[in-house]
Each structure stands twice: as C-alpha cells, then as structure tokens.
Amino acid sequence: MSAKSAVTEFPVPAIDQVGVQERAAKFTKRSIKNEAKLAGLKMAVSMMDLTTLEGADSPGKIAQLCRKARQPMAERYDCPPVAAVCVYPSMVAETKRHLAGTKLGIASVATGFPSGQYPLEIRLDDVRDAVAQGATEIDMVISRGTFLSGGFETVRDEIVAVKEACGDAHLKVIFETGELQTYDNVRLASQIAMEADADFIKTSTGKVSPAATLPVTLVMLEAVRDFYYATGKKIGVKPAGGIRTAKEALQYLVMVKETLGDDWLTPDLFRFGASSLLRDVEFQIAKMVDGNYQGGDYFSLG
C-alpha cells in the first residue's frame, strides 16, 4: 500500500505494527505532575464530546447531560464546559433547547449509526434531518463492509456526499477502527477521509471493541500531520470509546502535543468522545484542588 495508492492524491506510507505500538507506549511514560496535570485535566474536559448513545435516551436524560456539559463541576473548581454534547438525531432538538445561549457544539451521529448499513439516500436524509434540527457537528460512519471489500472510491464518494449534506455543520468521519483491524487500513481510511474534506477523523462508534487505542490514534495523528505538511489544512482527531480514566486522557494529550504540536491542543482540533471519562477527570481535579479524594456521592451524575 506504500507510495501511491490508486484512490488517494497523496501517498499512503506503510505502517509497522510493532513500531507504532512501541512509539505509542512511550507517550505513557511521561510523568504529568502538579500544575501540568491540573491544566491537562481541564483541557481534557474542554475537549470532551459528552456522549449518550443509548436506545433508552429520553428528554430527561438529555436535560441531565446538557446541564452537566455546561457546568461539569462546582464553580470553585474553575472547570471549563465540555466541547459538545453528542446524541442520536432524535435527540438533537432537545439538546439544542438545553444548550441555547452557550458555545457548546451539538453533535449528532448520523448516516445509520453505528453500522452504516443503510441505502445512501437514507443515510444522507439522516444527516440533513439532524442538521435541520440544529446539529452543528455530524459524526458519520463509513461503510466498513465496502472499505474491506476494496470499494475505496465508493467510501470516498459517500463521504463527499455526506459533507455536502452537512452544509455548515462540521463533519467527523468515524472509521470504526476495531472493524478495519489493521493500521494500514486506518492510515488509508484517514487519507481518503481527509481528501474527501472531512473536518475531523474519529476512531470509533463506541459500539465495537476495541474502540480507541493510543496506537490507532497515533496513526491518525500522523496522517493528519502529513496532510498538513502537504496542504496546510488542519484536520481534527477524535478518539472515542474506551477512554475511561484521567490518566489515559493525559496520555492522549501528551501524544497530541508531541506529534502535532501546540496548534492541535484545542477543542477545535482534538476531541475525546466519552461517556464515563468525565467522572474520573472530576475526581482527579477535585483531588488536586482539595488535596484528597472524595466519595462518588459528591459528584453529580451526567
């Protein structure tokens, strides 16, 4: 797959599995202490797409989540709001209502999330509908079956079509890396999505295991770097699913900082897709501010 791939304008280099895993593991050796830790944790909160993607989601649940998103912790902790709330299309209008007057993004999964196994027109309607109801960010899924059977052009054309359907809404393209399986596939999918005008590339739906991992995210960050070198365009990256601890979040931030540099340390270019991460980050922020851990009952549900 090295040098030129037939579907992409720019070369897609090979990925060595052992090497990329070894490199990713090195980021976990950084020791983040004191003021750097507190700043990192607050940055992680500001980059969070607070997510609920359950069949049981209801207006009440959305109200609860949006309140938490706007103010995750008591005022004295000086904790920023999250970046966006991420929901199913049917919950977009409700989310918009609760986030009115804030700068928080309204992210909606669409395109037949999580499988994407629906006719293209239905998937596009799904997007248009979510945008019409107020979604400012669309998290689409690619057709993994099509990708794995070699239909790279189809995958690209579908992303282009979804992007068009998005209008002004930001497009995040989910690869479901757990189904693409190889790092080479992830690197190629990243290149296809970026060339098809994605604003963000995202690892996973959270419905398939493994979801986000450090090495798979590193492959995507490196693809983003090469695309930036080649075109000057800054693409965002969103690992999603499986990131549950503050420690892991800091490891991702270390990796972003040392791979793409300062410019990517912003919610505009890096997001965490997470439902349970916020809770552990809250625990750790409170520990740093108050000097001791507190029981779970002292933290509000999201």
């Binding site: 040098a3 990925i15 052992v18 090497g19 750097a36 700043a39 930036y228 900082k257 300062d262």
Partner: protein, 491 residues
C-alpha cells in the same frame, strides 16, 4: 548552523502551550562519600591510599571519592580470584553456581530503583532509560546465564566444556552496570572467577552491585573490582596470571590490548567502536523509521557503540525524512537525568563533550549543514549537547567516518540497494546496521551483504540476553549474549 524551525511552511509549532512540570525521581539512595576496592569479598583501601573524584556530569560537581587501585592492588585481586577459582568456586557443582546467579538476579530486581538512580547520577543517563532499559536488562542477563550454568554440555554438544580460570575484564562508561552484567554473568556461569575494572567516570553502581554479591553470599574472591583509570586496566590485562581478557571500549584502546595480549596464552574478546549505517528505503514505514532513527542515535545521549550514527536515506524520501526529523527533535527533552520526562541526559564527561564538539566543528568546517532544535535550552552547569544532525554529508566527511559517540547523526543518501550496501560497508567498523523497508525479501538480501555483527530490521537498538552481540573488523571479535556468549569463557 540552521534552526530546525526554519523550514518550508506549513510548520508545526512545538512550544510551551502545555508544558510538563518537573517530575524528579525522589527515591532516596544510599550514596556513600567514598568507595573502596572490592577484593576477596571485602571492601578494602587501596595500597597507595590514593583516590579520585567521581563527577556528576549533570552538575559538574563531585559525587564521591573512588579508590585508586595500583598494580599491587590488581595483583592482590588476581590472586584472590585465582584462590577462589582453585577453591570454593572451581569445585562447586554447576547447579550451585546457577543458584548464586539466580539469587543475584533477584536481588538486582529488588534494588533496581536505587541502582537506576545511582547509574543516572554518576553517568548522566536519563532515569527513564536506566529504569526501563539498563536495570531490567542487567537482571535479565544474570537470569539468562544462571540458567545456562548447569547446561553447558548441552550448549556445545559433543564437547566437554571447561572453564578458563581468571577473567580480567575492562568495561566502558556508557552502560556501566549493563556491561558489568554482560561480562560477569557468563564468566561466572561458566565457572570462571573475575577481576573487573569499571571506567573511571562510572565506578559507583558496580560497587553497589558488589554489595549485592556480598549479601548473596557469593564466595570471596569470585568477583573482584578494581577502580581507576587506564593504567589499572593495563595492569589487569597484562597480569601474567589472567587467563582471559574481555574488553569493551574504544577501538584505540582495543588495539593496545590486542598487542599486549598477543603471544600470551590469554584468550581475548573485544567489543569496540562502531559507525552503524541505518538504511531507510522509500517503501519503509516512514513514521516508524523516523522513530527508529531517533532511537538509533539519541538513545543514551548517543553514547552507544552500536548507535545508528550514519543515516542512509534513499534520495526520493530525503526531504520528507529531514522535515520529520527537524520536527521530531523539537520534542526531545534535554536536561536533568533524574527528571522522569528527560529524553537526553548529560554527556558523560568533559573529555567526551570536547571530543563531540571537535568532531561537530569539523563537520561544519567540511561543509555539512548542522541542524539543532530551536527551543532547546541547556542547563548552565554540567556537560550537555543538543540533539543534532548533519545534512549534506558525504562519505569522505570525518563525521561520516569517525565515531562521534554523542547525539549527532550524519545523514547521507543513496539511490539503489547496491549503492546502500556499498556505502554502508564503506567503514573500518562493523558492529551494527539497520534496514527499513516494508519488503521482506529486501531485508534478507541486504542483511546477507552487510558486514555488521548485529542487523536490525524495521527497528533499532533492541537488546536481549538471548541474542548474541559483537562486531566485524575494527568493531572487535567474539560475541556476548546468548549461547554464543558462553564460548568466550570456555575451552
């Protein structure tokens, strides 16, 4: 010199948007004010009564006094080793020898953290490396050879392997404890006794290892440690009652030792310098290759005999690789070896820093372009050198031929595999090489034609006690590690 930041736009910015707070290693260590010789199971004063300072290269300040051995002390140590060889150790069943080695290996693991800190304080290497690489490998070497002790007949079927006697060993300052393990563990496993001399700038950690030998109940005289400079090493290798000489260090000293040992009954193994070619093809996994280049040259401040110090890049990807290296060196953290986030620590000594500077100056004078990170601030005290690389290097530059032994890479290019082999082999050394390509057949073709003792494919600087290590040509002879490493200590 050019600034690594000065490059074609769009450029990445590696500033201080989110800077890491200091993360110093704080475990207390039992550093002594002075250290004696270790002879016949005891710590003893040198006959001369003299001593010298060991310096912390990260501060340039004095760390501890080290006993200065004389010829008489070396003679005392060799006699103790001979007595132990003819006594308790020589008569001991092999399985019992193995038990001692297993016990030592376990005790090293227990004391790994304090040994790692001492190693970083005395030698300048980052705690991240002494903690995660040096010490685990030290223990692994003792474990590996402990297992061989009672299986020597199976290592060399059809022979009845016999120990040699007293081994005189001289080790360098770049991996003080690890080199001690590489030398001591196989020697003891094979039933020999040892007199070993560490480098004068890094004597402390091996003397703490001596305490472990004592605590493990290793019989007196099995391992003896004499500290001092080159004259002590010379006295050791020239001692008439030494049966085997093993040396790791510079090619220059290696040649002197070879001359001194010539015409004697002594067996000799030498592990000397290197100028390894790290060859990157257009079809390589580029980002992993960049990491391999970084690890190949900046690991342990570049104080590595098998460092990938000559980068051979296929012309078509030269600019891409250089651009990525320019960005990558911006994120390397140089500073306090005891900070857990430090990637490059202090240069081991003033003398070594002078040698690096001299060779780097020659590179600039001869017309190569020096690239260093723009934002790297070095501490005001101690011995430091920024991670650096030269572009526009040709095979006739001094920086392409001589071992710099510092964090300085020379970048050359090639067009075809044949040219890569020709350029890689155009050196008086032959210790290691690296090959980066996604094509398996190319790896095997090149590996067969490269004159190097160790060849890594799509990785670099990986060490394991099961894998033999050693060189061709002026990189020395003999192998250390694995089954092959036993042969040097047996007849």
């Amino acid at each position: 010199m050019t600034d690594a930041k000065k490059q074609t736009t769009p450029a990445l910015s590696f500033g201080k948007a989110w800077d890491y707070a200091p993360a110093p290693e704080t475990t207390p260590v039992p550093l002594q004010k002075s250290y004696d010789l270790f002879i016949d199971g005891d710590f003893v004063k040198p006959k001369s009564g003299k001593s010298f300072w060991s310096i912390n290269p990260a501060t340039g300040k004095r760390l501890a006094r080290i006993a200065q051995a004389s010829e008489a002390d070396v003679d005392r140590a060799v006699k103790a080793a001979r007595k132990a060889y003819e006594g308790a150790w020589g008569k001991m069943p092999a399985s019992e020898r193995g038990k001692y080695l297993f016990r030592i290996a376990r005790m090293i693991q227990e004391k790994a953290r304090e040994l790692a800190i001492l190693e970083s304080m005395d030698g300048g290497k980052p705690i991240k490396e002494s903690r995660d690489i040096d010490l685990p490998l030290v223990a692994a070497h003792f474990f590996h050879y402990a297992g061989w002790a009672d299986k020597l007949d199976y290592a060399f079927p059809g022979r009845k392997p016999q120990s040699l006697g007293v081994a005189g060993q001289v080790i360098p300052w770049n991996f003080p404890l690890l080199m001690a393990a590489w030398k001591i563990a196989p020697a003891l496993a094979c039933g020999n006794t040892v007199v070993i001399k560490p480098a004068e700038t890094t004597s402390i950690s091996i003397l703490h290892l001596a305490q472990i030998f004592q605590d493990a109940g290793l019989p007196d005289g099995v391992v003896n440690i004499v500290t001092g400079a080159g004259d002590v090493g010379a006295a050791l290798v020239e001692h008439p009652d030494v049966d085997k000489v093993a040396f790791t260090g510079s090619t220059e000293v290696g040649k002197k030792i070879a001359a001194a040992v010539a015409g004697t009954k002594k067996k000799l193994t030498l592990e000397l310098g290197g100028k390894a070619a790290n060859i990157v093809f257009e079809d390589a996994p580029i980002d992993q290759a960049v990491e391999g280049i970084i690890n190949g040259i900046y690991f342990n401040q570049g104080h590595v005999c098998c460092a990938g110090s000559r980068l051979l890049v296929q012309e078509g990807i030269h600019d891409e690789i250089i651009r990525k290296l320019r960005d990558r060196i911006q994120t390397i953290r140089v500073g306090d070896p005891l900070d857990k986030n430090t990637d490059i620590g202090a240069i081991n000594s003033k003398e070594q820093l002078q040698r690096i500077c001299e060779l780097v100056d020659s590179g600039v004078e001869e017309g190569a372009e020096l690239v260093q990170p723009s934002s790297c601030e070095l501490p005001s005290e101690g011995y430091w050198f920024k991670p650096s690389f030269f572009t526009g290097v040709t095979p006739s530059h001094r920086i392409a031929r001589e071992e710099i032994f510092g964090p300085v890479l020379s970048v050359l290019t090639f067009r075809t595999p044949e040219e890569a082999i020709e350029r890689a082999n155009n050196t008086c050394y032959g210790l290691s090489a690296g090959i980066w390509t996604d094509k398996g057949s190319k790896i095997f073709k090149l590996a067969n034609q490269l004159k190097a003792g160790v060849i890594w494919a799509n990785t670099f600087n990986q060490f394991d006690p099961t894998s033999p290590f050693g060189g061709y040509q002026e990189s020395g002879f003999g192998r250390e590690g694995g089954r092959h490493g036993l042969a040097a200590y047996l007849k």
